[in-house]
Amino acid sequence: MNEQDSHPTGSSEVTPTGEFGSGAVRLDQGHVVGDGGIPERFQNPGFAPHIHRGADIDHAAAKRAERTVGGLFLLSILGTLGFIVAYFAIDPEATIFVPGIGQNKALHIALGVTMALSLLGIGFGAVQWAKTLMPDEEEVEMRHTMRSGPEARADFVSILDDGAESSHLKRRPLLKYTLGGALGLFAVPVVLPVLGGLGPMPGDDLSVSYWNGPKEEDGTYANTPLRLMRDPQNTPIKASDVTIGSVFHVMPDGLLDLEEHLLEAKAKAAVLLMRLDPDIITSQKEKDWGYEGIVAYSKICTHVGCPVGLYEQQTHHLLCPCHQSTFDVTQDCKVIFGPAKRPLPQLPITVDDEGYLISKGPFKEAVGPSFWERGSV
């Protein structure tokens, strides 16, 4: 391992010698300006003389260093013991006051702090040991360029060449092409079942919601009116309950009773119900699809699908907490700020005979984030 031979660090050893001193200078060895013998570049002056630490020259300092390191290791042992005691002795419900934090579960703090002590004792001890008692003179290891020698490289090429030759790869193209084909195709049996089994085709799934009602056998939807129910209380809402300034979080009747695929249904059917003074609604369609100023909009953001729940009752703005798309409820939930493009889809509503709010039909477009084939409604 000659490249790792340690070089004594005297400066005379690494300072170049004879490179510029011998009169004639080769072009690739440096440049001498004029006749003064001044080199083009400065020379590396070599290592500075080593300065010894206290512990290298003073027994007492070394002893102190030893005690510091030993003390740190001892601290680690104490930390570990403390951890064991805390683990068994502390009631999980007990709390302790920690300045800056307040009341906190005592077990958690005790376990964490003792564990940290146990680890930091070892870490600081080992580093302190290395810094004070282990040799602190830097050593030199030589580098070589990464590339192999020309022989090795030529050898490599010839081995490959010989291999191709001796295996008849070059002479028998049939083998080459069939092997290529086989290797190219063998991944298919692995990948195909994975791709095929990942999930169903979306079909029209993204474009319909629970408000469409159950899917008939012929692929159409019942589109029967559904009552608007409070989320999560699951109670129907009378039009008279919705006062101006109110906001109701709404699910279609029956959804919250689902045993299966509850969250999938919720993710598309969530609706926000608000009542505005009809005079400030600027969109005729919004008025027509609402009921006396009560309007229902999809709660799923048209950006990436977060619930747009933040309704400011004075400005009639709806804000999405994820990316701050802002929708103006008075303008048919048009986007007035943020990264969303499309307005929130409106759910047409009316009241039934008992005065409860019901849907007049499903959403007329896909709710939630855009996708390629959603149609440009």
Binding site: G102, K105, D231, P232, G245, S246, Q313
Partner: protein, 267 residues
Amino acid sequence: MNALAARRRHPAAIAILLMLGLLVTGFAYAAVAPQPAQAESSTAQDVTAGKQLFLANCASCHGVNAEGRVTGNGDKIAGPALAGVGAAAVDFQMGTGRMPLREPGIQAERGDVQFSQKEIDQVAAYIASLAPGPAVPSEEDVDPTKGDPGAGGELFRVNCAMCHNAAGAGGALTRGKYAPSLMGVEPKHIFEAMDTGPQSMPVFNDNNIEPKDKRDIIAFLTAIDEAPQQGGHALGSLGPVTEGWFAWFFGLGLLVAAAVWLGQKSA
């Protein structure tokens, strides 16, 4: 029995029965129906005292008859009309120090309460006397020990967390408005805020979230407010942003300090 049986064909019997029926229905209704506006304790005296306080402290913005006042360009309301906002709104706004407004701004901020509870009650009585509106809730309505924190948590997450944050730490609204932190807010004021919908906040009246459900929400907020920290400093319960800052500044700072110490020559 006999006497009653004998008189049941008396011409007055029907009238008496009718009267009885009406009375029973009336009392039953009064017992069951939600209590509107006026707290029983408010007296004419309170209303008068409240009006005096109102004229001295509120009328400059809300108008001498609480009819609201318009300033300047006509589109900026200095103070909205207060008929119908109810005692609950007064108790909330003055009880949390939001009113009287210290300075015009994007939204009224919580501050030091400037009136005694008695004075606030008097102003509330005056405002409630103008038109019926939500009343101050009873002790029992807002008693967190009577609510179910689990059910309240679910209601809170659906109806409140999008603005106030799941841990009640508050959040941003548009154009500098914000939903304040709910930690340390009195249960009564939480109830009143839901009932009246102050500022940007929508109204969650009793038809939307029943008083019992409101109490569950209060129980939930009290539970998370009073619970000890589980795993150390909560960093304001603001989520991953503060955690990331902490990792960059404190975590990396400590580790780099250790690395610098490690790389230093001890000579």
